[in-house]
Each structure stands twice: as C-alpha cells, then as structure tokens.
C-alpha cells in the first residue's frame, strides 16, 4: 500500500510538473530584474560546496566529495496590485462619438483603477553530481530556471461598451504571460590543493521563452474607441530560442573553513538573443480576419551576473556568510518584435522597417546583498537565518506591471535535517520578500500634433527620452507587491 501511494504520488507530481513545463513566479523576482534564482535558499551562494554551485559558482563542485542527487522546489505565492492613475490615460474624450481616446465615465473606469494578481507557482531545481572518486574534483548536471517567470492577472470589471475592460487596466502590458530562461547545465570544478583554490566552469544550454498577450493599438496609445467604434486591439507574442551561456568561478580557502568565492554567469547567447515565433494581432474595430498571425522574431538581451562572498565557521557547529550579486541589466534596453518576413528589418531609427512592437526597457544595473548564518541545534539539525536587500533594475519612468521590479528586503528562516547516516538531507525554509510600494507619477499629456495644441493628446514620451517608434501607454500608478517563498528540497548522497 505504501509503495502504491508513493508511486502514485510521484507520478501525479510529475504529470503536474510536465503538463505545465517549468513554472516560476513572474518577472518580479527574488533578486534583481527578472532574476529569480533562489534555489538552495540559504545554502545557494557563490561559496557553496553543494550542487547549487552548478549555477552560483561551479568551483564549489570540487568540494562535492562523492555522488549526490538534489531535487528541490521554490513554492511561491505572489500578491500584486497595480492601480493605474487616470492621469496616465492618453486622451479622455468628452464626446465618445468624436475622436480617438477613452470616453469619460465608463471608459475611464475601463482604462484605469485596480488590477490584481494572486498567483501560486513553483520552480524546480534538479541536479546530479559526482567526483568519480577523485578527491578535489566534481562534475554536475542540473536543470533549473534562474531567469523570468509567469503571471496570470485576475479579470477586471466588465463594462458593456468596452469589450476589453474585463481584462483589467493592466491589459496594456500583460493579461497573462511567460518570460523565462530554463538552464540545463554541465559543470565541473577542481581544487588545486597547493593553492587551496578551486576553479570551476559550466556550460549552459538556455531555452528562453516569451509568451504574452496584451492590449495594443497600432500607434501604441491606450485608445478604446475611435469615433464611437471599437479601437482597442490585442497582440499576442509567442517565441523562443535556444542559446549557449557559460558560468565560471573561483573558490579560495585561505585558512581553514574560510571560503571566499567569486563567479561569473554570462549573458545567454553572450549578448543579444533572437527568439523566433509568431504574433497574432488584431487592431481596430473592423471585421475579424481569417488569419491574425505573422511570423515574428524578438530581440532582447539578458544580463551577465557577477557574484561574490565569503563564509566562515566551525563545521557542524556554526557558520556565517555574506554575499552579493551584480547584474548588468543595462543591456536590456528594448524588446523588439519584428515581422520576420520583412527583408531589411530593424529595430533602429524613427521608422524601423518591419517593426511590430518595440517595448522600451532602458533598465539599469542592479545590486543585491545577503547575509546569514547557520547554527547546528543538534547533530543533524541545522537552523538558518538570513536577510538581505536587492536594488531595482527598473527606473521609475520605465516601470510597468508586466516586467515589474522594485527595491526589496527579504528575511529567511529555515532548517536542514541530515538523516540516514548523513546520506539524506531534507531542507525547508521560508523567505518573505518585502517590496516598498512604488508610486509613479503620470508622464503628462501633450498634443499629438504640435501644430494643433488644442487637439487630441497622448502621453509625453519625449520627456523620458523615448522615440515615437517605441511608444507604450503610460503605466503610472501605485504598485503594491509581495512574495513569499517556501523552499523545500531533498538530497541523497550515494
């Protein structure tokens, strides 16, 4: 009976896992930008001697000392409320039958106010490593999701005259979607005894996926109606790429039990990625066409990441650690979606040939720091406590709810239990991330046609340095966000 239950339980879990592929909380991260790497919890850092080092610092594999399997998961709940400022609406129409914009009354309610998200999602980390019996050597393979996530926003209030309204005001950036990079890594580490120094290298195969649906108009404004007719449209993008990336690191033990680590993770594809797929578009209030699909490609750049830190302690008694990471998010300046069938297509200039949508990002590099400690309350019972701070990669003028990030503080409490003659380890911990609210002022409106200053308006993108080709609706408003993460995992030493 016990065996049937165990098999059934495992089978059910695996079906659940692979029916939805790998899932993680959306872009808003547990670190900076889209970085969500938290696998390993308090044990996942660039000084690790466990399988987490496959990603954080492959030099740590040199301390693996045997053969080991790790399976863990980050189970996260996420609560997000975005309240769009009516002042962010491009143009409010006093007469709904004349002009293009957002009619007063129900139109404004359909285009501003509260959007909510309550998601419960999970992200796996699986790795296997061995030293092949060679002391000071380790090789590991792993599968995990260090970048990105998914989100599904709650429906909004239905408005009779506006069919798009029930996707909530957040729809101009996302209704539901996924943006993530899944890593499969082969890594190795070797310790040079004479130098008390370990070196490591990892090769990553990165599957990057982008799948998003959002409200969209051809000119990038948040227009609901034009001369009383439906104007609001939809754009859906689904694209993916497979790229290579590398990781490398050093781990130095200058004196017994003091470990200083530094590591580097390259950008996927070592620079700009090109994702291939298709878009579905419907703009305006004309009849539904037979096909809405166009072949598309997306260009974007994910950051490289440097991590470093130190840990010191008395084995199986106590340990303290501190570490930091720096991610070069400034490389994410735009996400450019082009018609893949247009020769000479380009994301550059005022009239980019083949442009479908260009989403401006203009993110900035960001830091995160963490500190924590362990205390062995009894043999085989390690208690951990940690905390930290991460900066934000998204400046105020670029903030929007699809790819949200904010300054955040986090606190962690957990434990690891060692059982079965040190062969089996079970870990569990909880991390609460506290995001101070971000309240973003509207850009202000300007005349669409400078020659007609009293005519139709739209939001002022010139003041934030954007060109017309990358116009997106103003995402001004209040962002209230929080995440809690339960890390559970098990490892077995063979």
């Amino acid at each position: 009976m016990a065996s049937r239950l165990a098999r059934l339980s495992a089978r059910t879990a695996l079906v659940g896992l692979f029916s939805c592929a790998l899932v993680v909380p959306s872009a808003p991260a547990h670190a900076t930008g889209l970085l969500v790497a938290r696998f390993g919890g308090e044990w996942g850092h660039p000084m690790s001697d466990d399988l987490w080092s496959i990603y954080y610092n492959p030099a740590g594999l040199s301390l693996l000392n045997g053969t080991k399997l790790v399976v863990s998961g980050s189970l996260a709940w996420r609560s997000f409320t975005y309240t769009r400022d009516p002042g962010a609406i491009d143009d409010i129409l006093s007469d709904p039958a004349v002009g293009a914009g957002t009619p007063e009354g129900d139109g404004v309610l359909a285009n501003s106010g509260v959007s909510t998200l309550s998601n419960f999602v999970a992200s796996p980390f699986m790795a296997f490593g061995t030293n092949f019996g060679i002391e000071g050597f380790g090789v590991g393979v792993g599968l995990y999701v260090p970048i990105g996530g998914q989100s599904i926003w709650d429906p909004g209030t239905k408005r009779d005259a506006f069919p798009g309204a029930d996707d909530a005001p957040v729809r101009w950036w996302t209704i539901e979607g996924t943006a993530r990079s899944i890593y499969t890594t082969l890594a190795a580490g070797y310790r040079i005894p004479a130098l008390r120094l370990s070196v490591g290298f990892g090769l990553n195969v990165v599957l990057t996926e982008l799948d998003n649906i959002q409200a969209r108009n051809v000119d990038g404004a948040d227009t609901l109606t034009a001369n009383g007719r439906l104007q609001e449209g939809r754009a859906r993008i689904k694209a993916s790429s497979v790229d290579l990336a590398i990781g490398a690191g050093l781990l130095w033990e200058p004196v017994d039990n003091l470990f200083i680590g530094v590591s580097y993770q390259s950008q996927p594809n070592f620079g700009e990625q090109t994702l291939k797929g298709d878009v579905d578009i419907i703009f305006g209030g004309g009849p539904t066409p037979e096909s809405t699909r166009t072949k598309a490609e997306v260009t974007q750049s994910m950051p490289d990441v440097i991590r470093f830190g130190a840990r010191y302690g008395k084995p199986r008694c106590w340990e303290v650690r501190a570490f930091a990471d720096w991610a070069r998010w400034s490389v994410l300046d735009e996400q450019c979606i082009l018609n893949a069938t247009v020769a000479g297509r380009s994301c550059k200039g005022d009239a980019p040939p083949g442009k479908i949508i260009i989403i401006p990002r203009n993110w900035t590099d960001a830091w995160g720091v963490r500190a924590g400690g362990s205390w062995w309350a009894a043999e085989g019972v390690e208690l951990v406590l940690g905390g930290g701070w991460d900066g934000t990669s998204v400046p105020d003028e670029m903030l929007e709810p699809a790819f949200f990030d904010g300054e955040k503080f986090h606190a962690t409490l957990g434990a690891k239990f060692t059982l079965a003659d040190d062969k089996l380890e079970l870990m569990v911990e909880y991390t609460q991330l506290f995001y101070p609210d971000r309240d973003i002022a509207a850009r202000g409106r300007v005349a669409r046609d400078p020659a007609n200053p009293d005519g139709p308006t739209w939001s002022d993108i010139d003041s934030i340095g954007l060109r017309e080709a990358v116009r997106v609706p103003d995402a001004a408003g209040l962002y209230e966000h929080s995440i809690g993460v339960v890390e559970i995992g098990a490892s077995y030493r063979f």
Partner: protein, 215 residues
C-alpha cells in the same frame, strides 16, 4: 526520531515520498494560455466589429476628374490617409482608370511640407459595371511613405484595392480591401474610402476630406 524514521521506514519509500513532496507543488500552478485569451477577445469583441459596405450603386456615371481621396484605415479610423486621385471614366468602353499618389500630412511628414505628393504614382484600370456602376480598382502592392502616414512613424506596404461605385458626377466612395503586409500583416477589412473634388490650386494636405460613404 532519526532512528525511528530509519528503523521503521524502507529507504526507497522515504526517497519516493520526498521526491513526491518536492515535485507536488508543480501541479498547483496554473498555466498561461495566451492563444485562448486572444480567441476569447475575438469572441467578445465580435458584436462591436463593423463591416462597412460600398453603399448602393445606382448606375454608371462619368466622374472623370481630379480628387482628394481619404482612406480611413480600420486600425485607426480617426487618422485617414490622404491621396491625390485622378479618375478617368470611359462609359463607352465601361472602364474606369485611376491614378493614386500619397499626400504628406502631419505628424510624420518631417521636413516634407504638408500637401506634398510623396512616393510613387500607382495606377489601375478596371471594368465598370454597365448596370450599376460598381468597380474594383486593384492597385496591387503600394507603399505609403512615412511622410504620408498619419498613424505610424513608418512606411506601410499594402495590397490595396478600392471597391465602390460611381455615385454622382463628383463623388465616389466604398470600401478598401486587401492587407497591410509591412511592417505587420494587418487586414484592411473594415476600412473605407471616399473622394471629393480637388479644386485647381487647392492644398491636398489641408483640403476637406471625406473618408466613407454617407450613412
């Protein structure tokens, strides 16, 4: 406690249970389905979609002359594209010939003066229905230069045809059929057009414009 676990539980059951526990959470997450969400929007917006018609055709009329044509494209009906159009009707042969050239207009005209004719001249000739005066002028692939595009700061390529009829000696109107092919593939269905005479010396960039048949 550890001894108890170790002594009472077969190790493989322990391992399987732990694996299940670790993986169990994955099944709890919902999956985004953007395709269904897109289709759902098409369904719920269907009652709001308008299919304009070319209007009633009453018979062939000679409306040869120079016109200002407005094309209201479904993607943004409030920003019609201006064209200068020359029509030549041969009632004997029952044909209609049209030439078409875009007109620079704000806000993407840049240094080009409003009203300047820009881009190529496109021509089409087609039979005129001898009974009701209806026609379909197929211009093939045309490019509307960025200077004449009031909607986007981009040149647009489209498979472009005008369906309509010779309503009066000075008016014609109907629907635009075809597809925008670049920068994105967007059907022109739902778009309309109309012409109004362009007087000698009038500025096609500012002259009053019609964009659809009278309702």
């Amino acid at each position: 406690m550890r001894d108890l676990i170790r002594s009472r539980t077969p190790s493989w059951v322990l391992k399987a249970s732990l694996l299940s526990l670790a993986l169990g959470g994955f099944g709890l997450a919902g999956c985004p389905d953007s395709r269904s969400e897109f289709d759902e929007f098409l369904d719920k917006s269907e009652p709001f979609r308008v299919v304009p018609t070319a209007g009633e055709c009453l018979g062939p009329v000679d409306l040869s002359g120079t016109y200002l044509m407005g094309a209201a494209v479904a993607v943004d009906l409030t920003k019609p594209i201006r064209f200068k159009m020359v029509l030549a009707v041969d009632l004997t042969a029952s044909t209609i010939q049209a030439s078409l050239q875009a007109v620079a207009a704000p806000p993407n005209n840049g240094a080009t003066a409003v009203g300047t004719l820009v881009g190529e001249v496109y021509t089409a000739t087609t039979p005129l229905d001898a009974d009701d005066g209806s026609f379909s002028l197929d211009f093939g692939s045309i490019i509307v230069p960025v200077e004449a595009n009031p909607i986007l700061a981009a040149a647009v390529t489209a498979e472009f045809a005008l369906e309509g009829c010779t309503s009066t000696p000075t008016a014609s109107c109907g629907i635009v059929v075809g597809d925008i092919t670049a920068p994105a593939a967007i059907p022109l269905a739902g778009s309309t057009w109309a012409v109004t005479p362009l007087a000698e010396g009038a500025d096609p960039g500012t002259a009053a414009l019609l964009v659809a048949c009278p309702e």
